[in-house]
Symmetry: C2
Subunit: 177 residues, 2 copies
Amino acid sequence: MYSTITENISKAIRNIPDFPVKGIQFKDITTVIRQPVLFAQITDLIAAQYANKGITKVVAIESRGFITGGTLAYKLGAGFVPVRKPGKLPSSTYGVTYDLEYGQDSLEIHRDALDKDDIVLLHDDLLATGGTALAALGLIKRFPVQQVFAAFIIELEMLNGRQRLAQHCDVFSLVRF
Amino acid sequence: MYSTITENISKAIRNIPDFPVKGIQFKDITTVIRQPVLFAQITDLIAAQYANKGITKVVAIESRGFITGGTLAYKLGAGFVPVRKPGKLPSSTYGVTYDLEYGQDSLEIHRDALDKDDIVLLHDDLLATGGTALAALGLIKRFPVQQVFAAFIIELEMLNGRQRLAQHCDVFSLVRF
């Protein structure tokens, strides 16, 4: 059952060659999430991994991570915390700059987003090199939270993001390429 | 009950003066959605308005609209369709450029996002002048969909966005300033 569903999700992902730059095989999830059943199953299957973990906050990375980050928070009965590009969060923030697959980027989190009792699920749609997720993890670690897990819809295995992240937290992905 | 909940949501919204530019009173929902109960109630109360409407797709506007757009699609058993800034959607798109409260902006939607059987709920966190929502509505109208509704968490009444939108679709907002 689980493998049939993840296979259907995997098949529904659209591959876009050379986007956003030449050499990148972009995994487009819009062809998955526009289908009601598959959209719900992504959330349900990921949330099921954390049913007994006591997740209190889902921290999701702008922008695609917001879509299923929201549904995961809703399903898990957790609060939602956005990690955003610089200048987007209106109150006082922590920031981080990092290297990513194609270029450099920065992320911010509100300084009042998390507290010491939180058990955090970090979420993004895609785990590639892990650069973005590691940066977000660095932001989360500015707070004295209880525990951090990381969950992704898609993992690009050959880019070894899991190895980089696994030193810092438990890592789960739904489909792998 | 309904009014108690919306009052709690309203009170939890953080007002940020002069963000992103001088003269704008920015309504920050991060202080609401980080609270599990309030986050769930936003979704449940908005979704309840559309329980018998047969919504098949939630079209949500980048980025904050993605958070509760996702949960609304999940709750309503609908598919999720993102409307994004230019260059973000990887496949063939329709685009629109429009004036907004402070400046000008453009939005895109995938050309395969909607079809003739769809009953659409357009969603964003905030209804201000209605410029962004009208632009997104214009994108939706490129498709021969059955019907369109629009729902927002917050409505800034003095900016008259509702009047501009109501000519084209049914409009709902959860809390008003």
